[in-house]
Symmetry: D2
Subunit: 351 residues, 4 copies
Amino acid sequence: MKGFAMMGIGKTAWIEKDKPAISPIDALVEPLALAPCTSDVHTVWGGALGDRKNLILGHEGVGKVVEVGSLVKDFKKGDKVLIPAITPDWNSVEAQEGFGQHSGGMLSGWKFSNFKDGVFGELFHVNDADGNMALLPDGMDLATACMLSDMVPTGMLGVEMADVRFGDTVCVIGIGPVGLMAVASAAIRGASDLFAVGSRPDCVRVAKEFGATEIVNYKNGDIVKQVLELTKGQGVNRVVIAGGDNDTFDQAVKMLKPGGKIGNINYLGEGDYIKIPRVDWGLGMGHKQIIGGLMMGGRLRMEQYARLWKAGRIKPGLMVTHTLNGFEKVEDSLLMMKDKAPDLIKPVVIL
Amino acid sequence: MKGFAMMGIGKTAWIEKDKPAISPIDALVEPLALAPCTSDVHTVWGGALGDRKNLILGHEGVGKVVEVGSLVKDFKKGDKVLIPAITPDWNSVEAQEGFGQHSGGMLSGWKFSNFKDGVFGELFHVNDADGNMALLPDGMDLATACMLSDMVPTGMLGVEMADVRFGDTVCVIGIGPVGLMAVASAAIRGASDLFAVGSRPDCVRVAKEFGATEIVNYKNGDIVKQVLELTKGQGVNRVVIAGGDNDTFDQAVKMLKPGGKIGNINYLGEGDYIKIPRVDWGLGMGHKQIIGGLMMGGRLRMEQYARLWKAGRIKPGLMVTHTLNGFEKVEDSLLMMKDKAPDLIKPVVIL
Amino acid sequence: MKGFAMMGIGKTAWIEKDKPAISPIDALVEPLALAPCTSDVHTVWGGALGDRKNLILGHEGVGKVVEVGSLVKDFKKGDKVLIPAITPDWNSVEAQEGFGQHSGGMLSGWKFSNFKDGVFGELFHVNDADGNMALLPDGMDLATACMLSDMVPTGMLGVEMADVRFGDTVCVIGIGPVGLMAVASAAIRGASDLFAVGSRPDCVRVAKEFGATEIVNYKNGDIVKQVLELTKGQGVNRVVIAGGDNDTFDQAVKMLKPGGKIGNINYLGEGDYIKIPRVDWGLGMGHKQIIGGLMMGGRLRMEQYARLWKAGRIKPGLMVTHTLNGFEKVEDSLLMMKDKAPDLIKPVVIL
Amino acid sequence: MKGFAMMGIGKTAWIEKDKPAISPIDALVEPLALAPCTSDVHTVWGGALGDRKNLILGHEGVGKVVEVGSLVKDFKKGDKVLIPAITPDWNSVEAQEGFGQHSGGMLSGWKFSNFKDGVFGELFHVNDADGNMALLPDGMDLATACMLSDMVPTGMLGVEMADVRFGDTVCVIGIGPVGLMAVASAAIRGASDLFAVGSRPDCVRVAKEFGATEIVNYKNGDIVKQVLELTKGQGVNRVVIAGGDNDTFDQAVKMLKPGGKIGNINYLGEGDYIKIPRVDWGLGMGHKQIIGGLMMGGRLRMEQYARLWKAGRIKPGLMVTHTLNGFEKVEDSLLMMKDKAPDLIKPVVIL
């Protein structure tokens, strides 16, 4: 079978591989639509995960079941399925503790295009099929379905980690697709004032549609100062970091009230240390909680987010600015993600 | 000063009283708008709190500060203020534990029209003014402001106690004003499928505007059966009880999944026991959590809910179906609440 | 192979069965020690789970691995292993939501002696071996190991559901083995005053060793009255129900403060309704939370509780009052549990 | 009245001041016993809070009520009372949100020897007496009572922020008095393996008495390496930081499992940034939560910790290594704290 792969840091190619073998609890799936992710760009051109050879890329997509193992109970050949980017080993002690995404070690629930071939192949392997797939709901378009793999759960996670409550003032830093989904998630978890930090017009437009009450543009000056002005010097209750770099934490702590919480969903690709400003962090006593995490993965959350879409609470499809057609366009889509044109939020490839 | 009072069980009258005295931490307030509550009806005609003589009724309203005690820091004469129905003693051990509404004993944070004169007077007393008032936000209409006293916080509490999360299926039983606010609250705390149990057309209309995805009408048969059908036999994740009686808990437990939670905000006026069905409660092992509570009260929550209104997340004003003018109309408004015409959700009296 | 089985309600017998078949993720285990549980008594003589024919009994034990499926990673033939009474399907949506004990339906994570043969056989089957077994720690005696199957996790659960915090006053109603473990658990989760309701001298002695500060004996009068006296009329912050019947909830609610929590771990075998007293429950607004649950099951918790034993925090072995020798003594041990002699807490059979 | 005061950075003196004035909700208290705190040392010789002139020092002590304001309900002249170091404004919005210690701004619930005169005076002022004092329990010695002001609540907070659960492996870094109380608190909140990082023999002895299962001495090499060896490379579930400096967070993150939590109770006196190691923090996705806070303060917690002492769960008196007699010895006691002799844990001055 054919797949679009990383050949080494900075190098990609189409390669041929054998059809993946499945164990009795796994499934083999054929993609119906695929989407590239900024992490794919980090992986290939940034070498963020270290070197990888002949590794098929991709972890966002929707597909059709081609084969299931003998112990798989709830899926069968022909089923159309949602696939999360993270596919935990659900019987691990980590998953039993609520952290399946770290089953087998930190971040090791992330298998696609990391420890095994990703979804940019003519076929791909899903470990623990009953635990890691969900039926594609009637009426869901394939572009939306692709957004459920990673963008939706990651945005939701940011808001869950920041623990947004009724009436909280919230700042989402970064409004690429993951930040946009954090905006949408904050709006349906009780945020009142919802500040979105960003500048690209298309992102700004979608942020407003998703519930942002104010856009904070760093081109207009220090974002901390702007947020403090908007809150009359009080700061916000919650911050979701969905962009920037290690120094963004300095800003986040500074715009946060005592008792506030920061949820990071930004992949931090460089540098040795995240820097927490001592004085603004209350000399260690300011009750400003900091956490960053990887999306949960697994079937339950796919089903939950699909229900949210069905009930009309989230509209992730609005983020898809570009649609390509044909498996071979996966390569183009990844380059689009790398080059990030001003009008791009998220491309999708329909097969 | 004049006030509309309970003279005994089943009896009301306009009475004259002295202007309330305030301590150094209290305030004296003149009402700008008032609203009657079903609890006032229970209090007078149901005798639910026991007998009361010459007690001015009412706990929903918005007003203007007439006088403040010497230790009050954040409010001054002339300020327009939101007033919560529940006004805790914030330095009590109960409040320090997170249960100000029970400061001084179970339900004792509820003072208006219970332990002291309510808001249906030409003036009323607010204990711990800094802790129990909030500035009326610019642009908020008085009808909406009245809804913030009790309807909004009680609806929010139901959803907080039921602990609604992203993608949860939720059933709200009862769509009077408190149930409607529970519907609105569930929709902005992550509910996906949101079933509202009710039948009156105006309530149904507002429930849909507030985010209900399905109306369950008891006139169409057993509501448990209907909810189980809507969820393909699975039951819902969360139930908010905002109407019915002691037997409603039987229904709630039956339509709830294992691991689910029930939040009760219905004032249970009669009967000896709430009945929990043993088998459906998993023989005591089904992990179906049950809790009922009184709204929190206090300034912080007034400010939080005001921010939610300002951000456009909630529109409690849509529940106000009838507006009356003039202080003396308080009596009519209470009778309207008692008689509950088919087209009534909530009346408000503008002074 | 031989097993001690339920032949129908009220009837037991030794039977012959084929060796259980295992799937690629399961294991086959030979018991090293076994213990009967009051639930076995309920199952056989009370018919609590409905009728069962030729079903091998037992869900408490420790064993040696005889065979593992091809996908089992962490265990091999010859390993000595702890076995929880509850063995969830870890990839189920219920387990992903944190309720593996209800995987496949309410209480369906409970498989031994319920949906499949229990541990009172010469061999027994463990589903999802990697997820549901834990290595027997060096130095742990077999009697203690048996207590880890059910008594320890159930006692711990009661305290977790009641959410005991630093300085809480706690009442544990019932001090059979599960209640005793709740006492021990409350003492290491921050309880201050810890009232244990019971009367049998041996149980009272162990309750004190486990950290009870006061024994409340129902033979000395109404336990609610006694608890209120001990707390100067305040009531307790937390109640764990580990004995009694449906009416015990009435007592628990009455001795509980507003804002308090009740965790039930008592198997409720009879009656239609659990009765919650309306007035003491604050007319539905008293913030008295009620939950009852089944132990979690699975490997993680076995490992956690084993660590607690190793660190000397819990001493479940103190509950073992009677030790029998030889597989065939399983029958006697069950009858001892049925007859419950005054000096019996828990018997164990060493093979 | 006389008081022992800070006259400027690095300078102390005995001064005369007027008797403090009290408002209707406050109390005036005469000390019965006092204790110096390392923070007093930071304040005077480190200038950690900035310069202060003629400010009476001290925030740990127990006293007798001399006078109460007219609105104080629960205390009267002559009552012996526990006094927390932190005395929030309980009706503030911050306190209503659960963060009274930050009422009026970050850390502003800390008033003694910060914004107003401390307890090292012949008399001292307690704001909001009903909310911030608790009766000295019968039988409690004065040394223990002093430990309840700050050492006990701060240690407890560390463990609450780290959210220690049944069976968690826990590392407490630093075993001065606050770290020792964190050890004691972890042991009664469910910790299994409990590593205490320290070296002074007296502290080590008390750490073991308080429940530490292993002492990690930095003199024996890198503490991260030691903890990883003790946990077979797994790391711990929870870390409480009670000593060290900004770099200690680097160590804490490195010894922590994904999904783990860090609670900081160390006053961070120097440096610009706390450094979080990017890779060990999972590139921002490792689910390693970091929080640092100031003790809660207030009456409820004093009562809770007093109950824990009465029930024999904590023995803070064991930390008092030196007892002095006479008010004027407050000066010596502070110098002892500054010089920290090898055998000193905590001195107390009995008046």
